[in-house]
Every structure is written in C-alpha cells, then in structure tokens.
C-alpha cells in the first residue's frame, strides 16, 4: 500500500489533502455559518458616509468627475450617497489590493505584544464577514503600521497629501509615492484616489470607539522638567 500507485494517489494525494481541507477550512466555515457575508452596501455606515461626503466637499470638481452629482429628492439622494459610497469602497479595495498595500500594512490587531494599546480593540471575526474582505486582508508583514483601526484618525486631506508624497507628512517613511491616484497635485485626486481614501477611512468605522486616537498623554517626567524650567 505504502509504495503502490493507488496508495500514493488515493491516500496521500486525495485523502490526506481532503482531510486537511475539512479540518482546516470546512471547520471554520461551519463554525461561522451564522455570520452571513455582508455586501459593500450593507457595511456603509454613518462614519464612512461622513468621510465620503467630506471628500465631496473638499474636492468638488474631482468628486463630480468620479461619481457624478446626487439626484434631486431626499430619499433618492440618500440612496445615491450610499450606493456611491459602496462603489467607492469596492474600487478602493481593488486599488488597495492592486498596489500591494496589504503587503506592508496588516489589518488585524492581535491580543498580544501590546497591539491593542497601540491600535485599539483586538480584531473579531464579525469584522471580516463582508464582501470587502474577500479574500481576507489580514496581511503578512508590517513595514508600516496596522490599518484596521485607521479610519477617522486622520483627515482626508492628510491622506491625499500622504498618498501623493508620504515624506511631506511622515519624514523618513519608506512608503512609495502614488502620484497616479491624482491628476498632478494632491488637490486633484482621481476616482482611484478618492476611492482609496474612502476605503481607508472605512477601516474601523464600524466600531464604537471610532475614531480610535492614540493617546498622547504628556509624560509626567517631561512636565516636571518644564515646571522646573519655569
């Protein structure tokens, strides 16, 4: 059996592979079957809508070019904003994947290594059960910081300048420039740029503690030195 063709083919080739697939993939699928996958439209929330409308106010011309103008009528307008925001999230995610952002920025907070102190609450399964996490963006390397609590921490114009030329805002950052998300200057983001900003502002927007700011409490030692100086 151990050296025969059928043994190798059926037991090692098919059976062991299937065993691993069942135990490592089907088991979590079954365990999480009560968490249906949400669509992009379903994950649009007030926080990300606020950021999306902020983009429309800050960059009226580029925004109009990319998404058009809202229709008349209160209900139609609301539906339009939600739909366009969902569309922006999908395009933004495509840019995020296509540019390989997720090879340097992870999207999950582990319960170890003080990560919840640096970035916010530890990641939970529910957060990943949606269309925008297909395939999931856990990430693999952190050259830059984790991004899954990034939404709302910085303003849209900060992101625009940062995507255009990271060094203007983070001196010494090894992040590459992305001028092709803009029409020549940070004031003119194109569809891809607007969509990517919406996507980044969405990350963590579903949490209670949005936006999750780092706590910059003044260190007591430093305060003491200042008082002494006075």
């Amino acid at each position: 059996m151990f050296e025969s063709k059928s043994g190798v083919l059926l037991i090692a080739g098919l059976f062991f592979f299937a065993l691993a697939f069942v135990s490592n993939a089907v088991v979590p699928m079954v365990m999480y079957r009560h968490l249906p996958e949400k669509t992009a439209l379903q994950v649009v929330n007030g926080n990300v809508r606020y950021q999306f409308e902020d983009l429309a106010r800050r960059y009226p011309e580029p925004f109009k070019q990319a998404f058009g103008s809202p229709p008349a009528g209160e209900a139609e307008e609301q539906a339009w904003w939600n739909e366009k925001c969902a569309e922006a999230l999908k395009v933004g995610r495509k840019v995020y994947v296509g540019e390989g952002c997720w090879h340097c920025h992870s999207q999950f907070i582990r319960p170890v290594s003080n990560e919840d102190r640096r970035w916010g609450p530890v990641s939970r399964t529910e957060e990943y059960q949606n269309e925008l996490q297909r395939p999931v963006m856990f990430g693999t390397r952190r050259v830059g910081p984790d991004l899954c609590r990034e939404g709302g921490r910085r303003s849209n114009d900060w992101h625009a300048v940062h995507f255009f030329e990271p060094k203007r805002l983070s001196v010494g950052s090894p992040m590459p420039e992305y001028p092709w998300l803009f029409e020549g200057s940070p004031e003119k983001p194109n569809l891809k740029g607007l969509a990517l900003m919406t996507y980044v502002q969405w990350l963590g927007s579903w949490l209670e503690c949005y936006p999750d700011h780092e706590q910059y409490e003044e260190s007591p030692t430093k305060a003491l030195t200042l008082t002494e100086a006075k």
């Binding site: 063709k5 083919l9 090692a12 691993a20 997720w102």
Partner: protein
C-alpha cells in the same frame, strides 16, 4: 534504478528525453529568476529610500514585490521543476511522457500564464491573496495547464509495474496536490467563502504551495539525483517511507500557523502548531537519511559541485525547519509575526533550499544537455559561493532584524523607531541580495559561453556528416 542492468532491451535516452525542451524550461526559469531578483532589488532600494524609479506606476515597488514572489514560484521554480521533470520522469519510468506535443503546448501555455500574471500585476489587477496574486482571469488557464502537466507525467508513471521508487511517490502526490492546491487557493476564498474562513483557506494555500508543490518535487529530485551522483543507494528505505508518509499526513494540516492570534478558532491554531512541530520531526528523518547516504563518500561534498549544492540546500533546510519549529509556537509568534524574521525565513526556504537544489541540478545537467563541459568551472564555483554566502548573510540579517522589530513594536515606541532601526539591516540585505544576484548573472554568462563552445564543437561534426 537498474538502468544499466539490461541495456539491450531498454529504450535509449534520446528517445526518452526531449532535451530541447529541458533547455528551454531551464532558460525560461533563469530569465524569470533574474526578473524576480530585479523586483526584489527594487523593493529593497525603496525600503532604504534609494529607489531611482519613483512615481512610475508600472514600476511601483508594491506591484514589483508581488512580481518578485510570483516570478519565483511560478516563473523560476515551476519552470525549473518542469525542465527537471522532463529529464527525470522518462528516465526513471523508461517511458516517454504521454505526448510530446502536449509537452511543447504546456511549455507555451505556462509562459503565457506567467507573463500575463506579471503584466496583470504591473497593471494593478492583482488578486488579494499572497502567492495567488495571479489575476482572476488567468486562473482558469493556469488550472488547465496544471491538469495537462499532471496527465502528461502521470501517464508514464501509471504504466510502470510493481512498487514505485521514492521519487515517484513524491511526484505522483505532487501532481495531484498542486492541482488541488491551486484550485483551492485561487477559487475558494475568491468566490465561495469570506472573512476568517477565507483566511484559513489562504493560510492553507500558501503553506500547501510550499509543502505540497515545491517540497515534494524538490525531495523527489533529491532522491533521484543524490544516489546517481554518489553512485550508491539511499541509506534507509524505511526512513524514506517515514519521510514521505509523514510529510503527506502532517504538512497539509499546518496551514493555519500563518495566522496565529487571528480570529480563526484557537483550537485550530493550536492544532496547526502541533502538526508543524510534527513536520519538523519528519523532516529530521529525511535529513538523517540523506546524510546517512553521504557517510563514507563525504569528500564528494568538496569535489562534486552538484552534490555540494544539494547538501548545502539540505543544511539550509535543516536550519529552516529548526527556525520553523520555534517560530510556529505562540510564544515566538507574539514577538516575530509581521516582522522581517518571516521574510528571512521565506528566503531561506525558497532560495536557500529549493533554488539551491535546482541550481545544482542545472549545474549537473547543462553540460549533458549541451554535450560540452562547462566553459569555466571557476565561474561555477563563484556562482555557488556568491549564492550560498549571500543567502546566509541575508537570512541571518533579516532574522535578527525581525527580533529587533518585534521588541520595538511590543515596547510601544513610536512607529518610526522600528523603520529607522531597520535601516542598517535593510542595507546589509541589499548587499547580500546583490551577491546572490551577481551569482546568477555569472551562471547565465557561463551557460551562454558553454553553449557557444558546444556549437563550435558541433560544427565540424555537422560538416562531416
């Protein structure tokens, strides 16, 4: 392996092996290796802030990082393996591949797959799955290619009678596994599941790609070439059995160890950790088996260059697995996950082990394919030493960098501390990578010169005929 026992009844080598195709596969592999290393070099330059090609969309380091990994997996490793398989399988089974036309077709189809993957990634069409970045519209073609490869090689293997030699256990399983793995990794998380479960499938995919495509083909080739070069059988058949069946059982179970401390259920994570440690035990038996084979003919390591490539690869394999047994534990993961340790580990496996073996196989086969000695044995030595030392420096450097990064992050220092602190490590990595790169350029140059010499040597013979 009794090829010399009854020579009059056996088919001849020229009827079995399509040498032309083996050469083509190897050259394609080396071309992708160079492209991949250029991509890695670009990303390395970006990290130390010396990227000369800033702001060019199709040359964005983020995109070229994906080309770097994909060109190695699908361009270099797959092509080099296919080349070697076209030499090994017909010689071992004493039968031709199912169809020569199919061999040529898969060669062409595979290059289309790899090139369109590269172009797709350059245009920003990548799929969000590590090592599965092949744009979704190429996936069906790649899947078809893998099916054809499996049919082409499994036909002669199935026609053999009696128990199979170790190499063929590994190959048979690998053809099935590669097909299934590619299907699972590229279609399941894209179309069927999302979120945490998709993460579990992704982990399974990246690990199976190493464990069920690269590893079995690599070990299968070692079980073929090492006894031939040392002219003696493998030390222990029992250990060969333990190695194969242990790998087949435990390796696929380890996928989730790539995503420890994620929301994937904890008991599955612990299961993956335990099977990973079991894999290291299995690997140890294989290594013992090969070093047992070397005992008594140790000087081959010094004198025989392909053997030196193979056994250096095995030493690195042992180091990789030792590293792996530690890093897979929850304690280590807390510190080193997401850091350069992982990058160092990946290079140690992919370059230090499998590329080393394939370089050794090419060093052995090119003179036989060209029917001419190497143009320069010294250049072959340079190729070896630059690759071996360069890789050792890179892996050590990145592993160390990972430990530092882990502590910087855990101690809640500002993020810049970790990038600025990594700078010296990233500088060393560039020079180590350059050494490896120059080694490959030397190899390609040596191949060109050998080919020219072989043509010059062949000319009078043609005229005489």
């Amino acid at each position: 392996m009794s090829t010399e026992a009854v020579p009059q009844q056996l088919p001849e080598h020229k009827d079995l092996v399509i040498e032309q195709l083996v050469i083509w596969y190897f050259l394609a592999a080396l071309a992708y290796l160079i492209i991949s290393m250029l991509g890695g070099f670009l990303m390395a330059l970006q990290l130390v802030d010396h990227n000369p090609l800033r702001g060019i969309e199709v040359l964005s380091p983020g995109r070229w990082r994906m080309i770097h990994t994909n060109a190695i997996a699908y361009g270099f490793l797959a092509n080099a393996f296919l080349g070697a398989l076209h030499w090994v399988v017909p010689r071992l089974t004493l039968r031709q591949v199912a169809s020569r036309a199919l061999s040529y077709f898969t060669f062409a189809a595979w290059q289309v797959v790899v090139l369109s993957t590269a172009v797709g990634i350059m245009l920003g069409e990548a799929q969000g799955l590590e090592w599965g970045e092949t744009p979704t519209w190429i996936d069906p073609l790649a899947q078809l290619g893998l099916l054809l490869v499996a049919i082409n090689f499994l036909t002669p293997i199935v026609q053999t009678r009696g128990p199979m030699y170790v190499t063929l256990w590994y190959f048979t399983a690998a053809f099935i596994w590669t097909f299934l793995t590619y299907a699972m990794g590229n279609f399941v998380p894209e179309y069927f599941v999302s979120g945490t479960s998709a993460g579990a499938v992704g982990g399974l995919f990246i690990h199976d790609l190493v464990g069920l495509f690269v590893t079995p083909l690599g070990w299968g080739l070692m079980y073929f070439f090492v006894p031939i070069l040392l002219q003696k059988p493998i030390w222990s058949h029992g250990l060969s059995l333990v190695g194969f069946w242990g790998l087949a059982f435990f390796y696929p179970l380890t996928g989730i160890h790539h995503f420890l401390y994620t929301p994937i259920p904890m008991f599955l994570q612990h299961g993956a950790v335990i099977s990973t440690i079991a894999v290291e035990m299995v690997v140890l038996t294989v290594i013992i088996n090969f070093f047992g084979t070397l005992v008594g003919t140790g000087q081959a390591f010094m004198k025989n260059l392909p053997i030196r490539w193979f056994y250096t690869g095995m030493v690195y394999y042992f180091l990789t697995c030792l590293q792996c047994a530690m890093q897979t534990t929850m304690t280590f993961q807390a510190l080193i996950h997401f850091s350069d340790w992982v990058v160092g580990h990946a290079h140690l496996v992919m370059f230090g082990v499998f590329s080393m073996w394939l370089q050794g196989i090419m060093t052995y086969l090119f003179p036989r394919l060209f029917k001419h000695e190497w143009y320069s044995k010294t250049l072959c030595e340079w190729h070896y030493w630059l690759s071996a030392i360069g890789l050792l420096v890179m892996a050590t450097d990145l592993t160390l960098a990972g430990v530092f990064q882990g502590y910087w992050w855990a101690s809640l220092q500002p993020w810049e501390v970790s990038t600025e602190g990594s700078f010296p490590f990233w500088m060393v990595r560039i020079y180590a990578g350059l050494a490896m790169f120059i080694g490959q350029i030397i190899f390609v140059y040596n191949i060109c010169m050998t080919w020219q010499l072989s043509r010059r040597a062949a000319v009078p013979a043609t005229i005489a005929a």
